[in-house]
């Protein structure tokens, strides 16, 4: 028999006639494709969620009485009061400096680490990758305390260094010191964002650079880092906002040094004072909100031409790790130092504190071992209940916000929705509004919205409040990941017959799984330690770890606060481990 050129096609089985299978039919809602409904729904829900706490705050900012007081009139005096407060200028400047320093420190630590651990051959990369996340597992309040124990003027390491060298090169109670601690708390965010982006990076781009003669470091500088612009900007924005809003660190580390930042200024003037000044709080929150919006707009500008950052395209490429040779050891030293001294040591101090009756360089801690701190927590039903509540809130909230945030991102970045830009700005704006004020705003929103009273004080109210605060984090975690996905991937699905929502669920969501897990983890950690909005919203049955910790803290039960934080770390580590397993399962699927 003959082999032929070309060979005859194999005996044809019946193939459907052209067009026989038809177009997939989708339910049409209100006379348009269902995506139109989804887009509008997403937009409206986002708008309602964000406006709910904001509107009462805006209203309060132009009232001369607390909202609960009868009477009162419109006024602009809150704003004049704010801007003419003693030292307002220097407070704003200090705050800016603090926020900028924090952002710079956090990115300077996180970005190289993410690159080293994700993109290069690095010893024990996985272990380091886990450990350096630990600081976000606990609230900055507790973390700051851990830092004081180790690096404070009478801290363990400070005492040791002072004894050894007669001089200590750091000062925790200073603006850079505070910024550093805050940065350590925020490093995991930037790390997660960048590591995610790097995991989905296109190695052929790196290979191309190497083949034209770029050494590993040059590859990092010219290709890897520039491609990281989206995650860096999103992380930067989040960190900057958090730094402006955060209270614990200015309060605990700033106060002793007489440093007043915007947040503790507000706390003292507005919340903790004998006569809380709600008008001032409203005005200040409005001011912070506008700042955030300006930053978001600026960020959007920097990220124009999103296709410049696409790394997952229709032509698949293989991935490989960079070998940076001897630089590896420098990197190892950098990561090692940070992980040991930045993440681990304060954390260990904290854990040790949880198991001792006292922790001081003055007494050998192993003489003071006790389980009393845990006993205290487990002895009181409301405390244990608060742990269960927190886990519930954090789990449900993290899942819900991640899913919702993903849809928001996809509507904002991957659809032809008319108000996509506005949606993006809206979703990112609640970030810098202080938590307590979100709580107060929502409190009034629940009061004004029919049926809201039933929600107020329940865990559901907390999920909403925490969720609003966490939405920007979800957005920041997922948006850069979508930017990496080439448009041809959605286009191919659309042409194959998937409508927008199908494309999202079949293609986008699957490709975004790692980013969604990062978002889940981030929001979980954020929610499990959150307390500020709960001060006004949590009912007697809906106390959370955060409020319990504050309760214990104000009563001087530091050991139990540490014990609570230890539990929090343990639970979170388990959750993070499970999430990691899920991700790995996905990868091998």
């Amino acid at each position: 028999m003959a082999i032929q050129t070309p060979p005859a096609p194999p005996a044809p089985s019946r193939i459907p006639r052209a067009g026989e299978l038809g177009t997939p039919q989708y339910r049409r809602l209100f006379g348009a494709g269902r995506e139109v409904t989804i887009h509008w729904l997403t937009f409206l829900v986002t708008a309602v969620l964000v406006l709910a706490p904001v509107v009462p705050i805006l209203y309060q900012s132009v009232r001369n009485q607390p909202l609960y007081a009868a009477g009162g009139a419109f006024t602009l005096s809150n704003y004049t009061h704010l801007f003419t407060s003693a030292g307002f200028g220097s407070i704003v400047l200090d705050t800016l400096l603090f926020a900028v320093l924090t952002t710079v420190f956090a990115l300077a630590i996180a970005v190289p680490m993410a690159i080293l651990l994700e993109r290069t051959r690095f010893p024990a990369a996985r272990l380091f990758g886990q450990v350096l996340r630990w600081p976000i597992y606990i609230s900055p309040l507790v973390l700051a305390f851990g830092w004081i124990v180790v690096y404070g003027p009478a801290g363990f390491l400070t005492s040791a260094v002072r004894e050894g060298f007669g001089w200590v090169p750091w000062n925790l109670y200073s603006l850079p010191g505070m910024a550093f601690v805050e940065a350590v708390a925020q490093v995991p965010i930037a790390y997660l964002f960048c590591a995610n982006a790097l995991a989905a990076s296109d190695t052929s781009l790196e290979n191309a650079a190497r083949s034209v003669g770029a050494g590993p470091l040059r590859v990092l500088r010219s290709v890897v880092v520039p491609m990281l612009r989206p995650p860096m900007l999103y992380a930067g924005l989040l960190i900057f906002g958090t730094a402006i809003e955060t209270l614990s660190i200015p309060l605990i580390l700033g106060e002793p040094a007489g440093i007043t930042l915007f947040s503790n200024f507000l706390y003292e003037q507005g919340i903790d004072s004998i006569n809380p000044d709600y008008g001032l709080l409203g005005a200040a929150s409005t001011f912070m909100l506008l700042t955030t919006i300006a930053l978001v707009v600026f960020q959007t500008r920097l990220l124009g031409h999103a296709q410049r950052f696409v790394s997952v395209r229709g032509k698949a490429t293989r991935s490989d790790l960079l070998d940076i040779g001897a630089w590896k050891w420098l990197g190892f030293a950098f990561v090692g130092l940070y992980v040991v001294f930045g993440a681990l040591l304060p954390m260990l101090a904290l854990i040790l504190r949880a198991f001792t009756s006292l922790l001081t360089p003055l007494v050998n801690p192993f003489d003071l071992l006790t389980l009393d701190n845990f006993r205290l927590i487990f002895d009181y039903a409301p405390y244990t209940e608060s742990i269960v509540n927190s886990i519930t809130v954090a789990f449900v909230g993290a899942v819900a916000v991640t899913l919702f945030g993903t849809v928001v991102v996809l509507v904002a970045r991957r659809s032809d929705f008319r108000f996509a830009r506005l949606l993006e700005t809206t979703a990112q704006s609640p970030h810098a509004v202080p938590g307590l004020i979100v709580g107060i705003g929502l409190f009034w929103a629940f009061t004004w919205i029919p049926g809201g009273d039933a929600v107020r004080g329940t865990l559901f109210a907390l999920i909403i409040a925490f969720g609003i605060r966490a939405l920007p984090s979800a957005y920041g975690a997922i948006s850069p990941a979508t930017m990496q996905l080439g448009a041809e991937l959605d286009n191919a699905a659309r042409v194959a017959g998937a409508d927008w929502w199908r494309t999202v669920s079949r293609i986008m969501l699957r490709l975004l799984v790692p980013a969604m897990l990062a978002s889940f983890l981030l929001i979980w950690t954020q929610m499990i330690r959150e307390y500020a909005p709960a001060m006004f919203l949590a009912g007697a049955e809906s106390q959370v770890i955060g409020t319990t910790a504050i309760d214990l803290w104000t009563q001087g039960e530091t050991g139990s606060v540490a014990a609570l934080a230890t539990l929090q770390i343990a639970v979170t580590a388990v959750v993070a481990g499970l999430a990691g397993l899920l991700l790995k399962g996905k990868k091998h699927a």
């Binding site: 096609p9 089985s13 299978l21 997939p24 229709g314 032509k315 293609i507």
Partner: protein
């Protein structure tokens, strides 16, 4: 499936016009090819048809179903058009295996599991990829990825198939095989195909009609023979096949043919066609229609032209030898099954084989 009509499509990106007034009609079951140089707007045209880009104006419809209407700015979304598009960049979904990539369009159409498997097997076998059905795209070579993309575009027998250089990374055998397959598919399934290629041999052998595209405009639409034998412009002639374009001045007209003086060379060429004397014109001379001969005693009967040329370079393509020749300062490309020694040579050209393009004023 009724005909696909594209009318007056315009499209520009940030002010750069990419498509200007594109018009064509593809009949039911026709194999229609867009041929044109790189960057002329072929992919953009396909994207507009598929609904991935919105034209600035114009109309696109399939039969009565209007996909896009520039005046009312109504669009049918891509998923409502029941098209198959094979992307130039493949656009494989990286998180799915080869088989899953093919399964998605079938799942969306609610094809039963068994039927899915059968269709997928069938499509993959045709592109010789059945044994790699469980690989992920990043585990495939470039050509293998392209074959998967091709199979995915076809597996669900869409009404209109849009192919954007679907064979560019395949070897000759595989291309032949795929071409046979595409042709068969078109015959059996009656699919209407719009095919983008840069390979004119492919275009010629597959297409019912070809549209030659340049700078965002259609230059000529016609059957392969029309395009090849009677190109509308020198550009088309130059683009399709190897065609030498020689500038000249029209001299005497003699019975359905004109005498053209070739530039500075002093040599003349009799060319079939009509053109006013004294005007300048371009003569197209296909390289395979030039006969090379060593013999000094070339026929001088006047029925054919005999030009004298120098061999500048000769290269071997297996089937043929290709020559770079010079007639004075004019370069001419020719081919011949025989190897000629270097030096001077005679070119024999029939007036009927020359294409005459009067200069545009």
């Amino acid at each position: 499936m009724p005909e696909l009509v594209v009318e007056n499509i315009k499209k520009s990106f940030h002010g750069t016009a990419v498509l200007e007034d594109v018009n064509f009609t593809v009949a039911d079951g026709e194999f229609f090819t867009l041929l044109g140089p790189s960057g002329c707007g072929k992919s953009t045209t396909l994207s507009c048809v598929a609904g991935l880009e919105t034209p600035d104006s114009g109309t696109i419809r399939v039969g009565d179903q209007v996909f896009f209407d520039g005046t009312r700015r109504s669009t049918v979304p891509p998923e409502g058009r029941n098209l198959g598009l094979v992307f130039q960049s493949y656009a494989l979904w990286p998180h799915m295996t080869v088989a899953d990539n093919l399964a998605l369009p079938l799942k969306l159409r609610k094809v039963t599991k068994g039927e899915q498997r059968r269709l997928i097997d069938d499509a993959l076998t045709k592109v010789d990829m059945a044994h790699l059905r469980d690989r992920y795209p990043h585990q495939l070579s470039g050509g293998q990825q392209q074959r998967v993309a091709l199979a995915r575009g076809i597996v669900y027998s869409p009404g209109v198939l849009l192919l954007d250089e679907p064979l560019s990374n395949l070897d000759a055998k595989m291309r032949d095989q795929a071409r046979v397959w595409l042709k068969d598919l078109q015959r059996e399934v009656g699919i209407t195909t719009v095919y983008v290629t840069h390979d004119q041999v492919e275009a010629m052998s597959l297409s019912d009609r070809i549209a030659v595209f340049m700078h965002g405009r259609l230059q000529q639409v016609g059957t392969p023979t029309e395009i090849y034998e009677t190109p509308a412009t020198p550009e088309v002639a130059g683009f399709i096949g190897r065609c030498n374009l020689l500038e000249g001045r029209v001299g005497a007209t003699e019975g359905g043919a004109v005498q053209v003086e070739l530039g500075e060379t002093g040599q003349h060429l009799r060319v079939a066609g009509a053109c006013s004397a004294g005007s300048s014109a371009t003569v197209g001379l296909r390289s395979e229609r030039i006969t090379l001969t060593d013999r000094a005693d070339a026929p001088h009967d006047g029925a054919v032209n005999v030009l004298r040329a120098r061999i500048e370079q000769c290269s071997y393509t297996g089937a043929r030898f290709e020559y770079e020749l010079s007639i004075g300062d004019v370069r001419v490309h020719a081919e011949s099954p025989v190897r000629h020694t270097d030096g001077e040579i005679n070119l024999i050209i029939r007036p009927d084989d020359c294409l005459l393009f009067p200069a545009q004023v």
